[in-house]
């Protein structure tokens, strides 16, 4: 095989390959090459934006860099000081922490035995006294209401003629005006339906006044 003339040689040496021709079996999506320029432009714009200097995107407090070195040095010194003086110099008796829990528990048990000075917010008797007062007031109120109603119920059961006869028998001179006033209001509230005829009322008034 002559390397200088290899182009022709290979076709002779590979007839199957040569017979295939230089056909491109690959395809691309529709409009791929038409859109490639636009896609690239977008990507490069994004790339330009991302490649901007950090100082364009972020800011720092005033004089940040001026004081940065000093603050770093201070931190380093503080850190090294911490390492050299890790022990604050205080000490405790031997076995202190080992027995601490037990001692605390013992003390709390002792306090419970003595009754402690635990003050309740509200004492027991005060609650009961308050409840008793409320019940008493409620009972009295109910009783009074019932009594008044009973009295009114009793009077409503008595016929008007009997009331008039009683008043005629037992009224005093000063009762006249009172009776007139009450008869007037009773008459208004009774309306047209009054049991006593008018002439009887008139007769009564003349006899008592």
């Amino acid at each position: 095989m002559d390397l200088n003339n290899i182009h022709e040689d290979w076709e002779k040496e590979a007839p199957v390959l040569a017979s295939l021709g230089r056909t491109n079996p690959f395809i691309v999506p529709e409009n791929y090459f038409e859109d490639l320029h636009d896609n690239l432009s977008v990507r490069m714009k994004i790339g330009r934006h991302l490649n901007r200097e950090s100082s364009e995107l972020f800011s720092t407090p005033p004089d940040y860099f001026d004081t940065l070195a000093e603050r770093i040095n201070t931190s380093i010194k503080a850190d090294s000081l911490k390492q050299t003086t890790a022990d604050p110099g205080f000490s405790v008796p031997e076995g202190f922490f080992g027995s601490l829990e037990e001692r605390i528990l013992q003390k709390t048990a002792l306090q419970e035995k003595q009754g402690g000075k635990i003050r309740k917010l509200y004492t027991g008797w005060a609650r009961y006294a308050a409840a008793a007062c409320i019940i008493a007031v409620s009972a009295v109120t109910l009783f009074i209401n019932k009594k008044e109603t009973k009295v009114e119920d009793q009077f409503s059961g008595i016929p008007d003629t009997e009331i008039v006869n009683y008043l005629q028998a037992y009224s005093e001179p000063g009762d006249g005006m009172m009776i007139i006033e009450n008869l007037g209001s009773a008459a208004e509230s009774a309306g047209a339906a009054s049991d006593l005829p008018e002439d009887e009322i008139q007769h009564y008034l003349e006899s008592t006044l």
Partner: protein, 183 residues
């Protein structure tokens, strides 16, 4: 429409006002060549798309420093080739698999790809190509499909013309053997 000359593109690119226009002209002239060069190496369209965009973003960034000591398209091919080889090596490292297995993975992608329009024999040829070592496949593609001269391929790959001729010859033999054996 006549494509712009490389010199015109470089001159326009050097001027800030016409840089965008120059880039557009460059894309128009070379995008398909670069795309197919990449696609034949990585097989998958989406991977090829990503790599092509990476290539042209780099072109945009570094074209200003192009010294014209080589042809513009060999410079573009070199960038594209390096991007592809880096991509394939990363694939190998990422999945912790030998490069041969990367070839199997590419063959699977080929089988499943909706963007493959070839017949059975074309599929077979592509699978045969995937059995070749990467750089040998690269040389074969540039010679067989792109019909570049050995001197141009030498500029792109940094390999001597003699080595390239030998590599291509071996590739042809292997492919022919594959096509005949697997009938």
């Amino acid at each position: 429409m006549k494509q712009a000359e490389d010199l015109e593109i470089l001159e326009k690119f050097a001027n800030e006002k016409t840089r965008e226009e120059a880039f557009g002209l460059l894309l128009k002239k070379y995008q398909q060549k670069i795309y197919w060069h990449v696609r034949r190496l990585v097989i998958d369209h989406d991977d090829a798309d990503d790599l092509v965009q990476d290539v042209f973003v780099k072109v945009w960034k570094y074209l200003g420093g192009f010294r014209n000591d080589s042809q513009l398209y060999t410079w573009l091919y070199r960038i594209a080739t390096n991007e592809c080889l880096t991509f394939l090596n990363k694939k190998k490292q990422k999945n912790n698999i030998p490069l041969d297995d990367v070839a199997y993975e590419l063959a699977d992608k080929l089988q499943e790809s909706p963007y493959f329009n070839g017949d059975q024999i074309q599929m077979k040829l592509q699978k045969a190509l995937l059995t070749l070592p990467e750089k040998q496949r690269l040389v074969f593609n540039m010679k067989y499909y792109d019909e570049l001269k050995y001197e141009e391929i030498s500029e792109i790959t940094g390999t001597s013309v003699g080595a390239l001729k030998a590599s291509f010859h071996l590739a042809v033999k292997k492919i022919e053997s594959f096509l005949l054996k697997n009938d």
